[in-house]
């Protein structure tokens, strides 16, 4: 049986000044249509690299990515990316930023009026209709990220790729954005891969959490199924034992088992050293 998106034993080696650097070693993830996957792991382990390979911005050295059985080897709007730092054109208005993408993707299939309506519709979806004519400099960080998401959604991608979309936001804005994203996801049921550093965010949003081991030669350490009913409510979940169990699983992995994927959970020997490392790497245990 073949999955919707198949990240098939992907390895990548970068040539560096100090010789070749093997960043990913046989990363294998299968994603079903409509699934929400989070990628979590320590900083520098290669999460962005995985995402960029799926996006086609990087080429795997070994293995490959299949989307609906077709090999991916160049970037395209069917795998839209929401970048960490929003990546909006500073000289274009909010509307024009989204419209640029809409014009390019639906050049032949939609009329001008339809493209205009589609642009407005997607900005409506992220609650940005009030600021169509503003430039990115004139809106807040959270708003910029909303526009980035609207632009990606407007491409009607088969897979939506998000690289720490809320990483740069303050925690209050981040919770708002997570709620918005869940609401959009409930309506559109996209296939999403999202990188995050935030354990709560991962558990709250995902169907599955893919935990990566530390680099170099990072691989998939563990995959956690999050069987919480949707729609999810962060307040109700805070006291839910299942939610806290999932959360604890992720935290345990990040702090105890991330070095060797097969090591038992009680391998306390090196856990103490790694704890401080985990903090430095910016894993947010409490958000």
């Amino acid at each position: 049986m073949s999955s919707y998106l198949n990240i098939d034993h992907v390895s990548i080696t970068f040539p560096t000044d100090k010789g070749p650097l093997n960043v990913l070693d046989g990363v294998d993830i299968k994603v079903e249509q409509g699934e929400f996957i989070s990628l979590i792991g320590h900083s520098g382990c290669g999460k962005s690299t995985v995402l960029n390979i799926v996006a086609g911005l990087l080429q795997a050295t070994e293995g490959g990515v299949l989307l609906q059985e077709k090999e991916v080897n160049e970037p395209g709007p069917d795998r839209a990316v929401v970048f960490q730092n929003h990546s909006l054109m500073p000289w274009l208005t909010v509307y024009d930023n989204v419209r640029l993408a809409v014009d390019q993707v639906f050049k032949k299939t939609k009329t001008r009026a339809e493209r205009d309506a589609w642009t407005r519709h997607n900005l409506e979806l992220v609650h940005m209709s009030h600021a169509l004519d503003r430039k990115p400099d004139e809106i807040s960080g959270g708003m910029k990220q909303r526009v980035g998401i609207a632009r990606a959604l407007a491409m009607e991608p088969k897979v939506l790729l998000m690289d720490e979309p809320f990483g740069a936001l303050d925690s209050l804005t981040r919770t708002h954005m997570q709620d918005s994203l869940m609401e959009i996801q409930a309506r559109l049921n996209n296939t999403v891969i999202m990188i995050t550093h935030d354990v709560d965010e991962a558990v709250l949003l995902s169907d599955r959490i893919v935990m990566m081991t530390n680099g170099p030669s990072a691989k998939v350490g563990e995959i956690l199924h999050v069987d919480l009913e949707r729609p999810r409510d962060r307040l109700a979940l805070a006291e839910d034992p299942a939610y806290n169990h999932y959360r604890a699983e992720v935290v345990k992995f990040l702090h105890e088992r991330h070095v060797q994927p097969d090591a038992p959970a009680s391998a306390k020997a090196d856990a103490d050293d790694d704890e401080s490392e985990g903090e430095q790497d910016g894993i947010r245990l409490v958000s």
């Binding site: 990546s87 054109m89 000289w91």
Partner: protein
């Protein structure tokens, strides 16, 4: 009336109350202070400069008399303007006479060729100071425009294509430090050899000056455009890759707009250098323009010459300033980078 003023209440003098009231409500905010300061400081500075100039000038004796102070320069400014108006009047009179002669010739039934010959006569008075100003502006504008039209595309390609940049870089680095005046003899010879036409559209002297300006305006624009284009954010380029923007769309919609601030930095540098070089080139090669005016006055050596040269110096400075301000305004109008303090 506010309670704070009650203590200052004066007997039988309600207008003092009103005055005090008015003064206390008047906003001596930091904004007003700043704008008064901004207006006063330059004026004071200029007054001090004029004072020092006039005192200093009196100490300097040259073979052409005393070094001109502000008063002498002002007199010569008026004199130059007067000469210009006189020349204009003469020109108008010339064409009036010409028209009359044409009418007479038509009345006398002369052949059309003859009439045309009379009509085609041009006024050929000496160029006034004002004429020279416009000649220089026109020349620098033409040279700068041609240079920009060549340099911006080269800079774009250099910035987008590493191989082309590697190819161009040694050439740019070699010619950039060359004073364009060193080119002047070559340009003059090449123009006089190549530009042979019975009905020339441009004067050769104009071409010499303009090409010299072009040669020095190329480099700052090429270099800054290259830097601007090469510095386009990698994330924005990734966006364009995800969207699969065609090359032309990518260039027009992403690369150019993000390079615009740097391109204009280059253009402003170029225009500034071009203006300085043009004056020198005009002096050196006796091409019409402000440089020739300065040189002619120097050769002329009358008692007014130094003051007239000083007028030219001030005008050159002021026009250079205006050109730069013009570019700055253009840059502000087209630049998206509002955070950058452009001065």
């Amino acid at each position: 009336m506010s309670s704070s003023l009650a203590s200052r209440k004066t007997f039988n003098l309600p207008w003092v109350d009103r005055l005090l009231n008015g003064l206390s409500s008047f906003e001596f905010g930091p904004k007003l202070q700043a704008s008064v300061k901004a207006a006063v400081v330059p004026v004071v500075a200029i007054l001090i400069f004029l004072g020092l100039w006039s005192v200093g000038a009196k100490q300097v004796q040259t073979s052409l008399g005393q070094f001109p102070g502000p008063a002498a320069v002002w007199d010569q400014t008026k004199a130059l303007w007067g000469e210009h108006e006189a020349a204009r009047a003469k020109e108008a009179a010339f064409y009036e006479r010409l028209d009359k002669r044409v009418e007479k010739a038509i009345a006398a039934g002369k052949s059309p060729e003859r009439i045309e010959k009379i009509q085609s006569r041009q006024y050929t008075g000496p160029a006034t100071f004002i004429d020279q100003i416009f000649t220089s502006l026109y020349t620098v504008g033409a040279g700068f425009l041609v240079a920009s039209l060549i340099a911006i595309p080269i800079g774009i390609v250099c910035g987008m294509n590493a191989t082309f940049y590697q190819a161009m870089n040694p050439i740019i680095q070699l010619f950039k430090p060359v004073s364009p005046l060193a080119w002047l003899p070559l340009v003059t010879m090449v123009v006089s050899a190549m530009y042979v036409s019975d009905d020339p559209m441009f004067d050769k002297s104009f071409l010499n000056s303009a090409i010299t300006v072009t040669l020095c305006c190329l480099w700052p624009t090429i270099i800054n455009t290259t830097v601007g284009v090469a510095g386009v954010s990698k994330d924005l380029l990734n966006v364009s890759r995800v969207l699969r923007l065609p090359f032309l769309t990518k260039t027009v919609k992403i690369v150019l707009p993000s390079a615009v601030p740097m391109i204009f930095t280059g253009l402003r540098l170029s225009l500034g250098i071009g203006w300085m070089v043009l004056i020198a080139a005009e002096m050196l090669s006796q091409n019409p323009g402000l440089g020739k005016f300065v040189w002619d006055e120097f050769q002329n050596g009358s008692s007014n010459s130094l003051a007239r040269i000083m007028v030219a110096v001030l005008v050159i400075g002021f026009l250079g300033f205006l050109l730069d301000r013009g570019m700055l305004m253009l840059q502000r109008a087209v630049s998206w980078d509002r955070n950058a303090v452009v001065r």
